[in-house]
Symmetry: C2
DNA sequence: TCCAGATCTGGTACTCAGTACCAGCTTTGG
DNA sequence: CCAAAGCTGGTACTGAGTACCAGATCTGGA
């Protein structure tokens, strides 16, 4: 990671990493399946944490609210070491192939979360219903969008606030139009300040 | 593409493609920057079409509705040659790296669409507001989800219907909860049967 | 008609990620 | 103390992508 931060991801070869770690190229590939596994290796297990957090959400909770709450473990990790996550986020911006790989890994998140969302929606056959997958994919998209803006703002904005704004925007995006302006935010279901103690 | 369909994407080398096309490996890379450019080359220009369709949407239209309408050109292309798009979709499912690359290219869609959405939302500084990016990213996520389910159903379901269901699910996902069941679909703003003549 | 410039082409050689295989060393357990 | 298991490094390979060079072809004037 230090090499990546110093030289950039694309400008760092596996040989450099291996020698810096005091091991051979062969041994490196025994611990990391691919080069991007160094950066994105934690993404997979993070997906498990998010999926677990989702199923432990209360049953009565609206689905979108539950999805928002599922991201709480992730937000806590980010809050614990913001500069670290910010550096990684900047690295992802500089290396498009790395970002694409991250999005590909997040597809596994979907598969882990879709069943629970389908159950919450009472979807008959989850495989033929686009709604569960759409909700999950959209929630993850909101997370990515919030993270992008957060890293672009150089940590001047709060990631949790950005995520709340992002996910709320999907519920009350109609406020931008003139024909539906009965403030939906005051209905009682407002994300924002809930989700964490 | 024939080779990809016959042998699979990963099992086809650039040398095979070049010789099948009657040209050298060098010349191949003069027409296609990368191997996946064969499959995903149209994604970029498709993004321009979607972005153009977005800006031509009526100003009074709710943002989410405008985003749904922006996908109409894409749906028309799919409807014109469904079996072709289905084959490509199946190929993307078999080759995870290819799908990741597609998601990476769709990030360019976001950058093209975000400014217009920010304008429609009346966002002061688009760079520090997560909402425009979240809406665009979520809309694209819905498109991908609908396409996934569509390809998984072997074209037995209609892609347009699936996309409408997917994007509607984000507006009325609260129907799954028990505390907000005032049918929002009957409010007058229903996607579904609008968007195309 | 001919010639010069631009363009297209194929070939060679290279870097780098990732895989397969093999041989030697160290560690563990009986 | 020895054998099996595991870890290690080395070599050689495939395949994508890049850089460079040299020949062929195609243009547009003179």
């Amino acid at each position: 990671m230090e090499l990546f931060f110093k030289q950039g991801y694309d400008n760092t070869t596996v040989d450099q990493i291996a020698s810096a770690a005091g091991m051979s190229r062969t041994s490196f590939f025994r611990y990391f399946a691919t080069k991007d596994d160094i950066v994105l290796g934690r993404v997979d297990e993070l997906g498990h944490q998010v999926a677990e957090a989702l199923v432990t959400r209360p049953e009565a909770e609206p689905v979108w609210h539950a999805l928002r709450g599922a991201f709480d473990p992730l937000l806590e990790l980010t809050a614990a070491a913001p500069e670290r996550w910010l550096a990684v986020a900047r690295m992802l911006s500089d290396a498009p192939s790395l970002k694409a790989s991250q999005l590909g890994r997040e597809l596994a998140w979907q598969d882990m979360m879709v069943p629970d969302v389908a159950r919450r929606l009472g979807a008959a056959n989850a495989a033929l219903d686009a709604r569960p997958r759409a909700l999950v994919a959209a929630a993850i998209a909101c997370l990515n969008a919030a993270r992008d803006v957060w890293s672009a703002s150089d940590e001047t904005l709060d990631l949790t606030t950005l995520l709340d704004q992002a996910m709320n925007a999907l519920i009350d995006q109609m406020d931008g139009a003139e024909n539906r302006s009965d403030a939906r935010l005051s209905d009682g279901i407002v994300l924002g300040e809930s989700g964490r103690p």
